[in-house]
Structures are given as C-alpha cells and as structure tokens.
C-alpha cells in the first residue's frame, strides 16, 4: 500500500529532472534528490517507498531523458498513474520497469492510500473504499515490463524478434 501524490496536467521532464541538474545525470542517486522539484519543491523528501505519483493529462512531455522515470523509480514510487502520457516517457517507464498506468485519476485525491494489482488491472483505493480499473498495457509493453524492463528482456532473449 502507498500514498498518492497528486500533480496536474502537462508535467514536463524539465519539471521532473530539471536541466539545472544536468551535471548530476551520471550520479542518479544525487539527481533523485531533486525529483519533480520543478513541480513541487519538497517532493523528494516527502515521498516514501511504495507511494504513487498521480497526475493528469500528458505526463512526461518534453525531453527524451530517461533519467526522469529512473529518478521517480529511485525515489521509491511504485508506479505513475495518469490520465495520459507523453509517448517517449511512457516507453521509458516500461523499459526501466516502472509501471505507467493510464486511468481516470480524477477519482484519486492527494493522500489516498492505494494498492496496485497489475495482474487484475485494478487499483484499490483503501481510503475511499473504491476500485479503479485500468486498461491493460499493450501486449509488447506487458512482456517487457513482466521481464523487468528492456535490459532484462534483451539479456534473456538476445533479440527483439519475438517481442
């Protein structure tokens, strides 16, 4: 179980992994201390392992920097829930093994305690006593996520042919 941290629409990768910390990109634990700083200054010190980043439309628009989902993951978030995702960010999440879930996040409030069941495609909101369903990931993404990300997938299969 983890807590929901709510963000708005159009959270760009410049807000998630700001350019002013460009020099920390090869030092990911240090960069993670600034995760989502552009959207919420203290976020890195507030988020706990197992929590959820919950946002509106078009989460992760902008730069291709994979550092953005990597530091959300490193900071402890279990998944990112949004109404929609920008394309590159979405792929990056799955590639690094961070679930990116598309669902109606209007039904989640800041601080709600959530539980995620990837297999059933259900988010249980313990605070509200409600259940949210989400569209399962496209097959290919599900397979990559299931194996722990694209690095693990390629180590296991040595090719993309069966993807």
């Amino acid at each position: 179980m983890g807590k929901a941290w709510k963000f708005g629409d159009n959270i760009s990768t410049d807000l998630i992994a700001p350019g002013r910390y460009f020099h920390l990109r090869s030092n990911l634990p240090e960069l993670a201390k600034h995760v989502l700083e552009g959207a919420r200054t203290e976020f890195a010190s507030l988020v706990r392992s197992g929590d959820f980043v919950v946002a509106g439309e078009n989460f992760g628009l902008g730069s291709s920097r994979e550092h953005a989902p990597v530091i959300i993951n490193l900071a402890g978030a279990k998944a990112v829930l949004a109404k929609s995702f920008a394309r590159i960010f979405y792929r990056n999440c799955i590639n690094i093994g961070l679930p990116a879930i598309t669902c109606n996040t209007d039904e989640i409030e800041e601080g709600d305690e959530l539980e995620l069941d990837m297999e059933q495609g259900i988010i249980t909101n313990r605070t509200k006593g409600t259940e949210l369903t989400f569209t399962p990931l496209p097959g290919v993404m599900n397979r990559i996520l299931h194996e722990g990300g694209l690095v693990a997938y390629i180590k296991n299969h040595k090719s993309l042919e069966k993807i």
Binding site: S63, S64, R91, N95, V140, I154, E161
Partner: protein
C-alpha cells in the same frame, strides 16, 4: 484495401512485410545516435545488456552538443566517457564545436526513407528529408545500437495541408506554433504528422526542419515531409545527391485526420510561458520587456534563420536592456555565416555569438536565465525551468520576432521593422 501512408511504406521496407497503422513490428534501423545528455546512460544500458558494440558503427553517432564545450567537471567526465566509448567501438564521434545532432544529421547522414532513432526527443527533425525519425530514451536507443533494430507501433497519420502564400514576416515557425496552439501539446500523441500543400512544397529544407523539429511538441512520433525537388537540391548542396529517393503516401492512403491551414491568414505567433501550446498571435501579446534573446537551437539555428535575423539587425543596435545570444546550429552554418558577413552583422549590432550547439536552450550554460528574467527564444520549448531557472519566463517565436524584439527590448512584431 486503400493505399499506404508514407509512414507505413517506410516501415514496410524496414520490416519486410506489409503493415497497417496500429500494428507492432520490429524494424531495421538505418541510423542511430545519442548526445551528451542522454549518451552516458545509453552506453551504461549497452553495458548492462552485455553488448558493448554497435551493430553498425559507421551508422551510429555520439554528438557532444548539449554541454559544449563543457561548463563543469562532471560533464567533462561524461564527455571523456563518451569519447572513450567511441574510440573503443568505432562509433562516430561528433565532438564539441560541431554543433547540434539533428543538424549534423540532416547535413551529413539522414536519407529520405530511412528509419532513424536518436536519444533526443527532437530526432524527428530528420523528417524534413522524409526520414522516419523519432526520439527515444536511452534504453531503447541502446537496444537499437546494439541490435540494429527497434520495435515500434505503426502510427496513424494526420495529414496537415498548408496552402497559400506566407505573408511577409511570417515563417515556418509560425505555421508550427499555430498548429500546436490549435491541436494542443498532446493533440498528436503517438501519431505521425505528414505535411503537404503548396506552402510546404515552397519551403526550404531548413524551414521544413523547423516544423519537423517541433512536431514532437504536439506529441507526434514523427513529422514527415515527402522528399521532393527541394530535398534533392538540398542533398546535392550537401554533396550527397545519390542519397535522394522518392517516397510518399498513396493518394488513397488512410489518413486518420486531415488538418487544413490557410497560410495567408497567419501572422507571427508567440508561445507564452510555460507551455508550447499556450500560443497567441503577436498582436495579442501586449508589451513584454525582454532581458535575453536567443537565436539558434535545433529549431531555428540554420543559415536561413541567421540571415533572417541579421537582415533585421543590420546597421542597427540592439536594446541596451537586452542581451542577444546567437548560437549557430552547426559548424557548417557557423562557417558560412562567418564568410558571408552575417556574424559580423550580429557582432556590430551588439549581439554575441557562441559555439555551435544547443547553447542556452538546455539550461546548463551560455545564457542561463536569472530570477524573474524574461527570454524570447527561437528554441522549440518553453517549459518552466527549461533554461536553467524555474523563476524565469520563456516566450518562443521566429528568428524575425527575435531580431525585432532584440532591437526594441520588448516582444515586437517583425513586420514593423522589415
């Protein structure tokens, strides 16, 4: 069954079977690249995959363009790491000073009909030549470099038809800003944008690349221009006419949507802070004092862009309250601008010129904004914090708007000084 879109055709050639939009396929990649912001992680991912070599090193490039030359020890070490990897693997290195990945790619590597992946979101710039080029993250690009392949979903296509003569002072930048304002920053997510119409055929490759570049700002996967006579002319100028080939959508192709734009009705467009789709006609922006003007970047740093700005600045002085930074996109552009007197015009007007590369756009060097600073930039993005300071404000406009703004010290309509 109807005809095929340009995207479907290119993808079919690269996966060896018939495809339709919506299918997931594995395709051969012709060209892949990374830059110094995404490159160290890309190399790390290749190491983690246990494949520390490129499938096709002569078609793989490392560009040192984002922090170039390096302003900090940590980034100098990243550069060392990438240079060493290039040396070890035979991957091409485009070192500090050669400029932005996407421009070097247009000048020297990308071909019509190619599949190109780059660890930079603006890789779609290569669509100006009719290449299916898209930005991806480090792990995806690592896989593409290692295996020579990537997987993708064949996108549906939005056909954007632009017709009519562009009014004086209105450029391709205004077309794409207008489009993004109209369809929003996720209006084309996962889609291919394909550009057509007589305005488009009349645009230079440079002007097309501005539109291709910013296609991702509407969420698109690619921004495609079917290769034509202009493409042929451009490739010839680059000394690689043999790379030209024709490929285009069938007339009865299945386009998911058609968007029409009348070029004659356009006026200069400004994207206001802090989102690219927050656009306004320049006449609606009002008086906005500007502390910094940036002319350059992957969106508008080509010779044609510098010429447009210089023609407005020639013989005049920039406002004493505004600093003006000009960053040529590539070494080739820089050299040509130097030889034809464009650089001299900038310096005489009071502007400064930096090393070719991303410059101030990525917020690490060469013009980081101060608290409360307002910038008018020709770059593709204005997100909060983009230029290194979350307490600053970025407006986007064409090189002509940038030059007019530089003279007045506030956002100004270029049509009044042309």
């Amino acid at each position: 069954m109807g005809g095929k879109t340009l995207s479907e055709k290119i993808i079919e050639e690269h996966c060896g079977k018939e495809v339709s939009a919506g299918e997931v396929v594995v395709v051969n990649v012709d060209l892949s690249y990374m830059q110094d912001g995404t490159g160290p992680l890309t190399v790390l991912r290749m190491k983690e995959m246990g494949i520390e070599k490129a499938y096709n090193p002569e078609k793989t490039i490392i560009f040192l363009d984002h922090a170039s030359p390096s302003p900090r020890m940590e980034l100098s070490n990243d550069h060392r790491f990438l240079r060493d990897f290039a040396e070890k693997t035979g991957i091409i290195l485009s070192d500090v000073g050669y400029g932005i990945s996407h421009h070097n790619s247009l000048e020297s590597y990308a071909r019509p009909g190619d599949v190109i992946v780059g660890a930079d979101s603006h890789t779609c710039t290569n669509g100006a030549l009719g290449a299916f080029a898209t930005g991806m993250g480090s792990t995806d690009v690592a896989a593409a470099i290692a295996l020579g392949k990537t997987w993708m979903k064949v996108p549906e296509t939005y056909l954007v038809e632009v017709n009519g003569r562009l009014p004086k002072g209105v450029y391709s930048k205004d077309i794409i800003l207008h489009l993004i304002g109209k369809i929003t920053s996720n209006g084309a997510t996962y889609k291919a944008l394909e550009f057509t119409g007589n305005t488009i055929t009349g645009l230079s490759t440079a002007a097309r690349s501005t539109i291709a570049n910013m296609s991702v700002e509407a969420g698109a996967k690619v921004g495609l221009f079917p290769p034509d006579n202009e493409t042929k002319k451009f490739l010839k100028k680059m000394g690689r006419e043999e790379d030209f080939r024709e490929v285009g959508s069938d007339e009865d192709a299945d386009f998911e949507k058609r968007i029409e734009i009348n070029a004659e009705e356009l006026e200069p467009v400004i994207a206001c802070p802090h989102l690219v789709d927050n656009t306004k006609k320049i006449s609606e922006v009002g008086k906005v004092k500007v502390n910094e003007v940036l002319i350059g970047t992957s969106c508008n740093g080509r010779l044609e862009d510098l010429h447009i700005a210089a023609s407005i600045l020639k013989g005049k002085k920039i406002s004493k309250n505004t600093r003006v930074i000009v960053t040529p996109a590539s070494r080739m552009v820089y050299l040509e601008a130097l030889k034809d007197g464009t650089i001299e015009t900038f310096i005489e007007s009071g502007a400064l010129v930096t090393t070719p590369g991303c410059g101030a756009c990525d917020g690490v060097h060469e013009g980081i904004l101060g608290d409360g600073d307002v910038c008018l930039a020709t770059q593709p993005r204005n997100f909060k914090g983009r230029m290194g300071n979350p307490n600053s404000f970025i407006y986007l406009g064409s090189p002509a708007v940038a030059a007019a703004t530089a003279l007045a010290g506030e956002i100004s309509d270029p049509r009044e000084v042309m």
